[in-house]
């Protein structure tokens, strides 16, 4: 039996609540698929709906129609707590501003998603420590707000892959970094995903980014009315 795709999108349509009927869809993607451990870059200008797409994939918003399947599970078919639990276990997210938990140490930030996973509690600490060590954090008990931006980025990466997700969604992960650090950060993100076997869908408008990805597409290319085989 072949392994389920990390991500499968079919006829996904979304318009913000309150938008007039008949107004253009913000998201209108006929089809998109990511194989397990595959990495893809999605580019597009600001306000094009890139973050919205990631939130739809993560099940943080509901589409008007269409199906998003993560690791074989239609995420919008899950309701309430079951969807939240599934997201925590199957999807890791990295944000432009990292969204780390303030007041908690680097270790605690990485252990936080494990609270909602099936990973035995006794393994949380060691797992987080090993991850942070691999990502070059030498003060795991320090609070992220006392660290450099680059180190905060590493903690965010460690947190995203802590539960061994099938899919990592990265939303403008280098927007807060200078070109040198951006390159290092991407290397870390991609390396970490490869290490845990997670697929990566990265959205960015960083012009230096495309060279890092074998598969890349612009938002317009995957949208309706574009060529279905969107790979460049």
């Amino acid at each position: 039996m072949t392994q389920a795709a990390a991500l499968q999108i079919q006829d996904l349509k979304f318009r913000y609540p309150g938008a007039a009927t008949g107004s253009p869809w913000v998201i209108d993607i006929p089809a998109l698929e990511l194989a397990p451990a595959e990495q893809m870059l999605l580019t597009g200008g600001s306000g094009r709906g890139k973050s919205t797409l990631l939130q739809l994939i993560a099940g943080l918003m509901d589409p008007d129609s269409g199906v998003v399947t993560v690791s074989g599970q239609d995420i919008h078919a899950l309701r309430g707590a079951r969807r939240d639990l599934f997201r925590g276990r199957a999807i890791g997210m990295i944000f432009q501003t990292f969204n780390l938990l303030h007041g908690f140490s680097a270790m605690e930030n990485v252990m936080a998603p494990m609270m909602f996973s099936q990973i035995p509690r006794r393994e949380h600490r060691e797992r987080a420590r090993a991850l942070l060590e691999r990502l070059g954090i030498d003060r795991p008990q320090a609070r992220p707000e006392t660290m450099s931006v680059g180190q905060q980025q590493r903690i965010a990466v460690a947190r995203a892959v802590a539960c061994g997700p099938a899919l990592v969604l990265a939303d403008e992960p280098t927007a807060s970094l200078d070109p040198e650090n951006a390159s290092i950060a991407m290397e870390l993100i991609q390396g970490a995903c490869t290490e845990v076997g997670a697929a990566l869908l990265c959205v960015s408008h960083d012009p230096a980014m495309p060279t890092r990805f074998e598969r890349r597409a612009s938002f317009d290319e995957i949208a309706a009315n574009a060529h279905p085989a969107s790979t460049i």
């Binding site: 939130q55 943080l60 707590a81 639990l85 276990r89 969204n99 938990l101 908690f104 936080a112 998603p113």
Partner: protein
């Protein structure tokens, strides 16, 4: 340690330490107040009902039975009218009493009341239903001009057996008060603590009391009079202000069968005020009971206000925590769990308040009990009734949890996508 809900809650509370401490303190004050009032209410009742001791009937010429008990048992003031010795003898011999002890009040020493009586006061009358008098040092008075001190008087004045003192006629603050310098009294003993108002009284022999007052009268009539002895006493000098009485009954019975008959017959005498101390105490407590119900109602209001304080503290913190909540949701935390986290945090604030309240209670009740002992001579032992305590603790935690519902609903409804956007 792995991350847990408790880590999130404790970090949230410690990150807003000032707010956490002040909110918990508000709850603590309310809980402490409530527990103090509840325990003192019970302890106060005990102390008051101990006051009458084994006396069943108090006879005086006070304005009312209540005033008579307050004056003769609790030393609230000097009884205004006297009973002649002959009348006392008539009463004593006319009824089946187990004891009928004459007492006279009106003098004081450094603000402490003096009770002039007979030595049988210490043999027959017991300050508590079952408590005997004890003598801590020295002995009971045996002859005129000997005085024995209540335990509180000894503590406050530092007097010891062998010391000599002058008594003041009237209470120290009354306009006609003056010191009887012509007669000194010798301290012969210090009584053990009884836990009643008698601890703050001095006890002396009736005869000496009659002599010093007769001396005042004789000196007023004839300033050349320099001394007065028992031989100079007339019937008019031999006066008392009250009779502590108990009717004869079966040994060990708290109230004798003859009591009602004797009580009714004495009441038929219009010149006397006849009180059943137990009954008067019940009346007094029912009045006090209404007052302490008001206090307890006020404590409940304070407790509810502290619940509102919890709600406000959490409500105000929600604005700053929306992003944290959104992040937790992304990490897999469900909305019901977020709701539970906030309600639990609120309940923990309540629990912290309960802990603080217990500390306040132990300090507060100790202070109030000390003040009651010092001012009223009432020894009260504040004890927490387990049922009431449990009710207050459970009620506070429940109230705190309810106070967390509104902020928890806000957290529950926090839109995730909106709160994950970059700031600015």
């Amino acid at each position: 340690m792995a991350m847990s809900d408790f880590t999130i809650i404790s970090r949230s509370l410690s990150s807003r330490l000032f707010s956490t401490v002040t909110t918990a303190l508000t709850v603590a004050v309310a809980v402490g107040l409530m527990l103090t009032l509840l325990s003192l209410r019970e302890a106060g009742r005990d102390a008051f009902s101990r006051g009458g001791g084994n006396m069943e009937i108090l006879i005086s010429r006070d304005a009312s039975p209540m005033a008579s008990v307050l004056n003769a048992v609790f030393y609230a003031g000097a009884p205004p009218r006297a009973i002649e010795w002959r009348k006392f003898e008539e009463i004593r011999d006319g009824f089946p009493f187990e004891f009928a002890i004459p007492v006279q009040q009106g003098d004081s020493y450094r603000g402490f009341p003096v009770m002039a009586t007979k030595p049988e006061f210490f043999r027959e009358y017991r300050p508590g239903l079952r408590d005997e008098w004890t003598v801590e040092r020295g002995r009971i008075f045996e002859s005129p001009f000997e005085v024995v001190l209540g335990s509180r008087v000894a503590e406050a004045t530092g007097l010891n057996p062998g010391d000599r003192i002058f008594l003041t006629h009237g209470a120290a603050d009354s306009p006609d008060a003056h010191v009887h310098y012509d007669f000194d009294y010798r301290v012969v003993g210090v009584l053990g603590r009884t836990g009643t108002s008698h601890d703050r009284a001095l006890f002396t022999d009736l005869v000496s009391s009659w002599i010093i007052h007769a001396h005042d009268v004789r000196q007023n009539a004839d300033p050349s009079v320099t001394t007065t002895t028992e031989a100079d006493l007339t019937d008019a000098d031999r006066q008392i202000t009250g009779i502590y009485a108990r009717t004869a009954g079966r040994p060990g019975a708290e109230v004798s069968a003859a009591w009602q008959m004797v009580f009714n017959r004495l009441r038929a005498d219009p010149t006397l005020t006849v009180a059943a101390p137990g009954r008067e105490m019940e009346r007094l407590l029912s009045i006090v009971g209404e007052i302490d119900s008001i206090f307890i109602a006020m404590a409940i209001v304070v407790l509810v206000s502290s619940g509102i304080a919890i709600m406000l503290a959490l409500y105000n913190s929600m604005e700053q925590r929306r992003r944290q909540i959104a992040v937790l949701r992304v990490l897999g935390c469900s909305r019901p769990r977020i709701f539970g986290l906030i309600v639990t945090e609120s309940a923990i604030l309540g629990l912290l308040g309960v802990a603080g309240g217990l500390v306040i209670y132990f300090i507060g009740a100790g202070l109030v009990a000390g003040a009651m002992r010092q001012r009223l001579g009432l020894v009260i032992n504040p004890v927490l009734d387990p049922q009431w305590t449990l009710a207050v603790v459970a009620g506070t935690v429940l109230l705190a949890s309810l106070a967390g519902v509104v902020p928890a609903l806000m957290a529950y409804r926090t839109p995730v996508a909106k709160n994950l956007r970059p700031l600015g």
